[in-house]
Assembly symmetry: C2
Homo-oligomer: 256 residues x 2
């Protein structure tokens, strides 16, 4: 049975994302997730994580999203270095639990055009997963044909990777129980045709890549390609891995 799984760890799950605590990693959360994942040693797995409080401040300081020229080019390294530091912490936590995690930095092999990844290559990732390695990829600054450089979010990566690698399951661990309506209730199922009925609550976090609305747009695009995804609270990672009820949101293709 194929069971290729992408697990996305939201930036606000693995870092303190609120103001005044830039750069704080939630090591306890990382350890707990790593212990959960270690229970499924044979699951073909790829992990994507957001940048959280790592990278976003640098991206804002250097105005990366407004385009990069020689004047603000220094922001490319500074932004990358910050998310790279977070990625190292994720790798360390996973490897400490015996998971064969391998870092993958988008800046090193990807290119974008006007904010969208173009012709991304997957052969090496496919091979890693087949060999039982766990590639750990993250939101990053990447070079851009139109803007000089841009930020590619973990959510865009999920969509591109899930399609390109033919993943079977996509799960997003977040700091909320799922997609929330304004009244705080969880949207249990979301489809393109019903999305307009949902008034998305504000997640309260700054995010140069668009936050919840950008996330939902990417997941609906994934559903358009026939790939379903699930969004749940980080405490429900084990339920997701086990294929049990996690009380979150399922983003589904249109019913035929």
């Amino acid at each position: 049975m194929r069971n290729r799984t992408i697990l996305k760890l939201g930036g606000s799950v693995i870092t303190e994302k609120s103001a005044g605590s830039a750069g704080a990693i939630r090591y306890d959360t990382l350890k707990a997730i790593a212990r959960n994942l270690a229970l499924y040693p044979d699951m073909p797995l790829l992990i994507v994580h957001g940048a959280g409080s790592f990278g976003h401040p640098q991206a804002k300081e250097y105005h990366i999203q407004e385009g990069v020229t020689r004047e603000n080019r220094k922001g490319i390294f500074e932004t990358h270095q910050a998310v790279r530091e977070l990625n190292t912490a994720v790798i360390d936590a996973l490897r400490s639990s015996g998971i064969e995690a391998v870092p993958i930095h988008p800046l090193h092999g990807c290119e974008a055009s006007d904010g969208i990844l173009i012709d991304p290559v997957f052969g090496h990732l496919d091979r890693m997963i087949s060999l039982g390695l766990v590639p750990v990829i993250h939101g990053d600054v990447v070079m851009d044909r139109v803007r000089g450089a841009c930020i590619v979010s973990g959510d865009q990566l999920i969509r591109v990777l899930a399609e390109g690698l033919g993943m079977d399951r996509v799960g997003l661990a977040t700091d909320v129980p799922g997609l929330l309506e304004c009244d705080g209730s969880v949207v249990r199922e979301l489809r393109r045709s019903t999305a307009h009925q949902v008034t998305i609550g504000n997640s309260g976090h700054i995010d140069v890549t668009g936050g919840m609305e950008g996330k939902i747009a990417e997941l609906l695009a994934l559903a358009d390609h026939g790939i379903r995804s699930e969004m749940f609270h980080v405490s429900q990672v084990d339920a997701f891995l086990a294929g049990k009820e996690h009380g979150g949101t399922r983003i589904l293709p249109e019913e035929l």
Copy 2:
């Protein structure tokens, strides 16, 4: 005037490569090279470095060159981590001299087939160089369609990058004055048609990627594509950058 330059820093130039000193970085050498490079802030530049005593011991311990399966897959991370550590030292030295160095790890974006890189992408590197950034790439373990994984040497990278990025100048800083004959004299010019007349001296270093003979094979292949390269002692980096006589070896295309 286009003056796109690749500078290769040999593994034995930037690390203590002899037995018994695994993992020692030559920080003074790195600093001296960085100070030299800082004198040419407008030179479009890409740097490749070898692994030296970083990576080779791990590659040997895990028998990476004999192919990688689930049994020795742990060697992929271990080998990569070692060269990554060296790359970080190179980046730090360059940035301390004001050079906008950016790390590029081949494992993160490349794939090989039976030891040869296939369909490598260059768009992001091209863009970095155009923006005045200095990509710093290194010999690395990469995933391989035939062998599972393999080692790609800095010398293979030079050839692929010089061709793919249309570089104008290729210089290799080594710990010897150039390509040496058995009597210790420097071969001043080498062409494919004259290579058989040269009896290459032994550089005395262990190297899982083939040492001097592998290097010469890559540079002759580069010459076959019309790109000349130069090999010189590390003390002559400034002479190379300035376009002056460095007393080393020029590897040239056949004369028409």
